[in-house]
């Protein structure tokens, strides 16, 4: 079973980071963030185009599929981000930052596969995929896959439908461009 697969899609990491840094520092406003996430795409029914697709989209309306978030947000028009979204034909794209010493909550399974492009990371930022369901009473060893995705300019396909979580046990935050396959 492939948890994470390196694709042949490659983009200019420096260019992405240059554009992201500009957008993060000078364009995005506080209300365009949901915690440490912000959307690059929205659905036609969004109230806030930059946050409605963040977090669990079930929180707003469980019936909204990821594929509805297919419209590019204005500030990303003409950027390398738009080019990547078009080339990969992806939906519900988000920038997701995990601060140092933070984790996602609990092991969970998403509805779709995801493509990840790493803008920045550290060696101790990793996905954790338990191979079997975790039994409450069970000690102790949980056979798992611990996988770090490097910032090497390639797109990685993550089978987020498998139970997983993410841990950043490093000293710097990590930033991924996360894109859903509808």
């Amino acid at each position: 079973m492939k948890y994470i697969e390196k694709t042949n899609y490659q983009f200019d990491l420096d260019h992405l980071n240059f554009e992201w840094k500009y957008i993060q520092d000078f364009v995005l406003t506080n209300d365009q963030w949901y915690r440490t996430q912000t959307c690059l795409q929205h659905s036609k029914d969004c109230v806030n185009k930059y946050t409605d697709g963040c977090g669990s989209i079930k929180r707003a309306d469980g019936s909204v599929p990821a594929s509805d978030f297919c419209l590019i947000n204005d500030i990303y028009r003409g950027t390398i981000f738009e080019a990547i979204i078009n080339e990969l034909n992806v939906v519900r794209s988000r920038i997701m930052i995990i601060d140092k010493h933070r984790t996602y909550s609990s092991v969970h399974a998403d509805r779709t596969k995801r493509s990840h492009f790493v803008l920045n990371t550290n060696p101790y930022a990793f996905f954790l995929f338990p191979r079997n369901p975790i039994e409450k009473s069970e000690i102790i060893h949980i056979p798992s896959e611990v996988i770090h995705i490097p910032a090497d300019g390639y797109v990685y396909k993550v089978d987020a439908r498998l139970p997983h979580t993410f841990v950043n046990a490093g000293e710097e935050s990590r930033t991924h461009l996360v894109m859903c396959h509808g």
Binding site: T103, S105, I134, I140, S144, V167, E171
Partner: protein, 189 residues
């Protein structure tokens, strides 16, 4: 994993976690790491708390010159916990609260650690050399080989509490590697 490469060893013991929880109500700030053992002449429960942020934990900045072995005096009126600490021969014992959705830096210590689990759930793990472990609450304590690269993860929405200490038996090189104590003469010179 090689059978000789045991990262975590469970030791069956008659630990009463309810008693521990009751006594831990004396902790001044339950959402902060707190020493249960201090040095002679000090009642500061935060003196022996390290600063996070280094791959090699012993390289972290310290504000004192004490050896870990100096942290051996009970700081709180916790008869059951202090009794356990004494019976298990622990020193530099700390109450360790790990906030929800957080983890420690991936690091290694110079000594193995004894863990007594006080509050946990199935989304709390230790990662040691990329192997994942969950320590359940039972009557046992655990010896964790924290000399290997490791971190603790709380991927849940509830706090996790362990009592963590050092035991000389499981850390035979302790005396050799402890930070040399600066004498009063040296301090004053």
């Amino acid at each position: 994993m090689d059978s000789t490469d045991i990262m975590i060893k469970e030791i069956s013991y008659d630990i009463d976690v309810e008693k521990i929880r009751e006594e831990l109500k004396a902790i001044p700030d339950p959402m902060r790491q707190t020493c249960l053992q201090g040095v002679e002449g000090s009642s500061d429960p935060y003196l022996g708390i390290g600063v996070s942020g280094s791959k090699n934990a012993w390289e972290r900045e310290r504000n004192d010159d004490y050896r870990l072995t100096d942290f051996k005096f009970p700081l709180f009126d916790m008869p059951y916990i202090n009794g356990l600490i004494e019976k298990l021969g622990m020193f530099h014992t700390r109450y360790m609260y790990l906030k929800p959705k957080t983890c420690y830096s991936y690091h290694r210590d110079r000594t193995k650690r004894i863990h007594i689990v006080v509050t946990t759930n199935e989304d709390c793990w230790l990662v040691v050399e990329e192997q994942i472990y969950h320590l359940p609450i039972n009557d046992s304590y655990y010896i964790v080989d924290t000399t290997k690269m490791h971190t603790a993860i709380n991927a849940s929405t509830h706090g996790r509490i362990h009592i963590v200490g050092i035991h000389q038996q499981y850390s035979p090189v302790m005396q050799l590697i402890s930070k040399p104590r600066i004498t009063e003469v040296a301090r004053n010179s």
